[in-house]
Amino acid sequence: MSATRILHVDDEPDIREIVDMSLGLNPEFEVHACASGMEAIAAAAEWSPSLILLDVMMPGMDGPATLTQLRENPATSTIPVLFMTARAQTREVEHFIALGAQGVISKPFDPMTLASQVQSHLQALNRA
């Protein structure tokens, strides 16, 4: 069975490492991390991940700007994106969905259940 590729984007190295370990609890996940929106756009086109976990607040190009660019490129326009952000208000979540994201995972996240949260998002997307 081929691995499920997850691209994780966050400017904080510590958080990249913790997300890497958390997602590693699911042996089927293969995780690649990026430190910026620019890096993520290149990696997404090249690596074709099954799902992208995208931080909202990043210096330079932030999460929403990154998503907009991903959606404009035919090679990456259909890759599902989950935002990772501080507890968002309903209206902000609606805004993210309107931008083309598939959902939101709030920060701080529970590291022991992050992999299963991502898994259930993937299953829901496959069913749809």
Partner: protein, 632 residues
């Protein structure tokens, strides 16, 4: 003996007067007193300093010179409200008032108005405070809080994440002591997260940035859900949760997430302060148009000395037992702010049989729905339908449009709106595009599709109109006006006037000022077929409506309450273009020397109405002149 006595009394009196004058003069707050016509009659030294005028440049001049032009309609509206109900009023920072200095610069102000009844009629003492510095500090504080909270959250995500992985065994098996120590660190990092979330919530509510998505909800279902969500937490304290509700839905009109937050905050307090094996009851009842949600514990009660400040920020009863419960000291403060914003109130009491009960009272959906139709509408005003979410903001808008001659009904959902339009006749629809789920735009599309409403004028309001404009073509058969938020009353009234006039073939507009409601009614009925009539019963209200819209003619009574209607003539002279006047009074004055006065008619004459219609016709040279009813 008696003579000397009264001489001493007199000098005592003048001494008292002198003391009073000096007190006012040297008072560090700016004081401006005006009379019933809005003319300044007294100022103190601080008023001269604050506004940059000399005293003799202020005395005898109209009060509105101290108000920025854009805010004058609001000023006249408040004056007329104060004249109707002379009670002290306090306009805080949230009222967004500004003062205008001599050099034209403006400053944010807090204003207290104290009406004083004197032998010369109503006087109003305004105490005005420049709050520029307060606002600057508050803005700095808000920015600081939001930056610090975001900056704290990032390392905290790493700390909580690392600890979570360690406890979960991702770093190998932990010894009993290590497991215990890391658990302590983890639970404290979670407490910090809650604290930051609470601080951010308070900051969002205080700065008005917390969005409330009002919907029709069942308080009972919400209570059931909150009980389910908090069961795990209660188990940790060995506390049972129980619902005690009437067999009703307890429908309210509120924001689901926020009301759930209220119940959860009250529940987690009740759980924390319950004895082991205790029970917490959530109740939902409805009576007298209100839905009451109760959360009751069997704890040791709230200490007397703490009760007065229980809803304040960071208020925690200062006992070791309470400090150890892991609260942030913000939960109840958030509860009260949210409940107030939802139009309700929260209080607490000792429960019968021990413990404490917190009660949240919210207006029931039935009560909110009953407010949808304007109860004070009169037959001559145009009716407008507002489709918007926030019921308190809708009520405020109804009041400010009333004086401009519009009666506002509400629809809380697009479905409500279409039902209302089917049932009644509206001159225009006012649409809030910032409703959740795109409901506002959905309504606009629905109106355009129905034959009955295809041509109906729509005024659409949004913080971002541009994102919606593309969806509506310029070839649209009806009128759509876009208003960028924030919308002030003057712009809204002007826009409504414009769309309604275009719709109705632009009739001339007449303002009628008279304190006799029978006269107002009969004149409105008589002139209705040939003009749009706005009737007001005070000079202040007349000033307000003149500030928000243009009139082609004013019909003026000379005695309007205790004030002379002629006081309005200088205001009318300032209008561009000049507004002609017909005096319609029991004692018509000879004002032929005044070029503005077209006619002076006796309203007690038997042919009063015929004469009035004739004069109105002459003046307006009506484009299409159907015969007015009641004049044959």
């Amino acid at each position: 003996m008696a003579g000397t006595h009264s001489a001493r009394d007199l000098s005592d009196e003048s001494l008292a007067e002198e003391k009073f004058r000096l007190a006012v003069e040297s008072c560090p707050s700016c004081m401006v007193m005006s009379d019933g016509t809005g003319t300044i009659v007294l100022v103190n030294a601080e008023a001269e300093r604050l506004f940059g005028y000399e005293r003799d440049e202020l005395i005898g001049r109209p009060m509105e010179m101290l108000v920025p032009e854009g805010l004058r309609s609001g000023y006249f509206e408040r004056r007329s409200a104060l004249a109707r109900r002379p009670q002290p009023q306090h306009f805080r920072e949230s009222a967004n008032l500004f003062g205008r200095r001599r050099d034209g610069s403006e400053f944010p102000a807090e204003v207290r108005l104290n009406p004083i009844r004197s032998r010369e009629g109503l006087l109003v003492l305004a105490v005005i405070v420049d709050i520029s510095e307060q606002k600057r500090i508050k803005r700095l504080k808000d920015e600081f809080v939001s930056t610090v909270s975001h900056e704290l959250r990032t390392p905290l995500t790493s700390i909580a994440g690392s600890l979570g992985l360690l406890i979960g065994g991702a770093g190998g098996e932990l010894s009993g002591a290590a497991f215990r120590l890391i658990s302590i660190a983890q639970s404290n990092s979670q407490k910090l997260v809650r604290l930051i979330n609470d601080i951010l919530d308070i900051e969002k509510i205080e700065s008005g940035q917390m969005a409330f998505n009002f919907k029709r909800l069942s308080a009972r279902s919400l209570a059931e859900q909150a009980i389910e969500d908090n069961r795990g937490y209660a188990d940790g304290f060995h506390v049972r949760l129980r619902l005690d509700a009437d067999p009703i839905a307890g429908e309210v009109y509120a924001d689901q997430d926020r009301l759930a937050q209220v119940i959860t905050n009250l529940l987690s307090n009740a759980i924390k302060f319950s004895p082991e094996n205790g029970e917490v009851t959530v109740s939902v009842h409805e009576r007298d148009g209100a839905v009451r949600i109760g959360v009751r514990d069997h704890g040791s009660g709230i200490p007397r000395e703490f009760r007065a400040r229980i809803f304040e920020k960071f208020a925690q009863a200062d006992t070791a037992e309470r400090r150890q419960k892991g609260g942030t000291g913000l939960g109840l403060s958030i509860v009260r702010r949210i409940v107030t914003r939802l139009g309700g109130k929260v209080d607490f009491d000792d429960a019968l049989g021990g413990g404490t009960i917190f009660r949240v009272d919210l207006p029931s959906w039935a009560q909110i729905a009953a407010r949808a139709i304007d109860p004070e509408r009169s037959a001559h005003v145009l009716r407008i339908l507002l489709c918007a979410g926030d019921p308190d903001a809708a009520l405020a808008l109804r009041e400010s449009l009333r004086t401009a001659g519009y009666s506002l009904d509400f629809a809380y959902t697009p479905a409500d709106a279409t039902t209302r339009i089917e049932a009644d006749r509206y001159a225009a629809v006012l649409c809030d595009l910032d409703l959740p789920d795109g409901a506002g735009v959905g309504l606009m599309r629905a109106l355009r599709q129905l034959p009955k409403t295809r041509d109906m004028p729509i005024v659409a309001m949004s913080v971002d109109c541009d994102q919606y404009k593309d969806g509506f073509s310029s070839a649209d058969p009806g009128i759509i006006e876009w208003l960028q938020r924030p919308v002030d009353t003057k712009r809204l009234v002007q826009t409504l006037d414009r769309v309604v006039a275009r719709d109705a073939g632009s009739q001339p507009r007449i303002l009628h000022v008279d304190d006799d409601h029978d006269v107002l009614d009969i004149v409105a009925q008589t002139l209705e077929p040939i003009a749009k009539i706005v009737s007001v019963d005070t000079v202040d209200e007349a000033r307000y409506v003149l500030a928000v819209r243009h009139f082609d003619l004013v019909i003026l009574d000379i005695t309007v309450g205790a004030v002379s209607g002629l006081d309005l003539i200088p205001d009318l002279r300032r209008a561009e273009p000049l507004i002609p006047v017909i005096i319609f009074s029991v004692h018509p004055a000879d004002l032929r020397g005044n070029p503005q006065v077209e006619a002076s008619l006796n309203k007690s004459s038997s042919s009063a109405l015929t004469n009035l219609v004739g004069a109105v016709h002459d003046r307006l040279m009506l484009r299409t002149a159907p015969s007015a009813k009641g004049t044959a």
